[in-house]
Symmetry: C2
């Protein structure tokens, strides 16, 4: 353990440890490795909210049957560029890879592919799927819905999730150009940090339980997150919920369940994967070169007083991964949970992780 | 003239008056009517920024040649669902109708159509094109780029436009579900209103010229607009700029010129029109019914203290149009400009508009 209470571990070793847990819970070796790699990749990106801390909930859901041991989604329909998949509550990390692959194949044939997935489970970091499309010369656009978390502007009741969208562009060099954003103004984690330090939150972040605005983080935690930029974030979240849920013939609104709720009840979200082949529109090398130039233009732009660096979308996560040296730092509590799970499931050799 | 200094005029009469001006400037009767109708529709929606106040600038650009008298865009390429058009600096209201029509046709054949337009001019309200797709049973997604207006978060230099996106869904009944948003946190018009009333602006709206945040509306007006929700609005604006500019082989970044700049210099924006046929994914009536239900769910949700109504995206504009009774209220200065233009160009009979 390091002096800051974290445990540092080699990413490859961590993938093995986590994959063994999923094999112990009944996944095939290759599927287990895919899920484990996705979780470790999130850690390397510095997106711990989508990383190793999810393993226990994932295993609990597998054991209780709300996540299935299926490793591929079933093709419900395939018409032109439009494909509908039924994931049957399989890991989104598995069906997501399958779905973006189909979308890219369609895009290479017809210019675009759109794959809607129903009865899905959590797929981790949306950006990763968009990046798969970008690496194949396509614009990748990936969305999913979550259970309702936010009111409409002026509302006092949760009606829409903070449904994320990711967009990645093919680019010649430099950091990948890959946006990944949820539709709330701020993450609950930021509000909890300000609560701990006794500071107020901006009035645009959250409401009290009755929908009235608050700058008190305690009231916000008992209340609701607000959409990013008010009606803008709300409108996008509303559209993403319905594009995912209705194109897939799957769940939307309250039919999507809490991720950390009853582990026996399927999460039942819906995903949407769009790939657009830039080569169907023009010269793909020109696209990649100009996209890279646009990124350089932003990164090289003049900075406000006190600002060291201006970033392109996705650059911060890319820099964190570059700087990680393939090492992941886990909070001691997360590492201990992993040890306990290893012991319980007799997966791997039960050794302490560090 | 009414007591509040506005001039009320029948929408049909106004279309005739404005169309006559464009005929006088060399457009065909049908093209002139399309452009005039789009401007009057914006007024009926209460979106005066995209309405009659633009007529003088449009005519000036026509006369100086930076807007062409072409009435259709040229098809540059057509591969699968991917179509590239060259608008040749024709009115975006004309080439936009053409483009969304092609996108819908492709969508009906193959599930989606994506039409990228280069060398475009202002197309007015993006939502109107998305609504055309929705009325045809397609999800409509419409974007365009503008000249750089906003810095990246932490930046002190304009690098990206407030590039709007519109998304409309087919819906069985009730107000159309149609989002239309620009990527700045607030419109410059709102900042000017607060300046007039001597009130501060929230610190997330704008920066001073050096990129530092300000709550002083005068400093903001001399500075830069900030992206909606910081990196989120910036990231979307960046992606929209490149999706429009690079898929069309057209302009992006600083190659797009100021709309109210040198009237002899083409505006040269790029547009992107996406239609997704919901019938390729499942039963279109189920989609339309569930979309309408989702809208009702939001409109009927509990309200925060002091809030009379909760709106779905696009509902406010729809309600304004319903309430207009087909009458447009123009500021007296705008009506007077129209009279002057009529006199100057000998279009129509030169009568005062009211």
């Amino acid at each position: 353990m390091t002096s800051d209470g974290t445990v540092e571990v080699d990413a490859g070793t961590l993938v093995e440890r986590v994959a063994a847990l999923f094999v112990g819970a009944g996944l095939s070796a290759s599927a287990a490795r895919t899920v484990a790699t996705a979780l470790v990749d999130a850690e390397l990106d510095g997106v711990a909210s989508h990383g190793i801390a999810m393993v226990e909930m994932y295993l609990d859901r597998l054991r209780k049957g709300s996540v299935s041991r299926r490793e591929t989604a079933e093709v419900v329909s395939d018409r032109g560029i439009a494909v509908v998949l039924d994931a049957g509550h399989a890991f989104g990390h598995l069906t997501g890879r399958q779905a973006i692959g189909i979308a890219v194949d369609k895009a290479k044939q017809l210019g675009a592919g759109i794959v809607a997935v129903r009865h899905g489970f959590h797929f981790g970091v949306a950006r990763h799927y968009a990046n798969v499309a970008a690496a194949a010369g396509c614009i990748g656009i990936v969305m999913c819905n979550t259970r309702p978390l936010m009111p409409a502007p002026g509302g006092a009741e949760r009606v829409v999730g903070n449904n994320p969208i990711a967009i990645a562009l093919p680019s010649a060099d430099g950091p990948p150009l890959a946006l990944d954003m949820a539709m709330s103004e701020a993450a609950m984690g930021k509000i909890r940090l300000l609560e701990k330090s006794g500071r107020p939150i901006p009035p645009t972040w959250a409401t009290r339980a009755d929908g009235s605005p608050t700058t008190d983080p305690r009231e916000a935690i008992a209340g609701m997150l607000l959409p990013a930029a008010g009606p803008k974030g709300f409108g996008l979240a509303f559209m993403i919920d319905l594009m995912c849920g209705l194109l897939s013939g799957g769940a939307w609104g309250e039919a999507v369940k809490p991720l950390y709720g009853d582990a026996a009840e399927p999460y039942d979200c819906a995903h949407l994967f769009i790939a657009i082949d830039v080569g169907h529109f023009g010269d793909p090398e020109t696209f990649r070169r100009d996209a890279a130039l646009a990124g350089e233009r932003v990164r090289g732009s003049a900075r406000a007083p006190g600002v060291d660096q201006v970033f392109t979308p996705g650059e911060i996560e890319w820099r964190r991964r570059q700087a990680s040296g393939g090492r992941v730092r886990l909070p001691a509590s997360v590492a201990a949970t992993l040890d306990r799970l290893s012991d319980q499931m007799n997966a791997g050799d039960g050794r302490a992780i560090a």
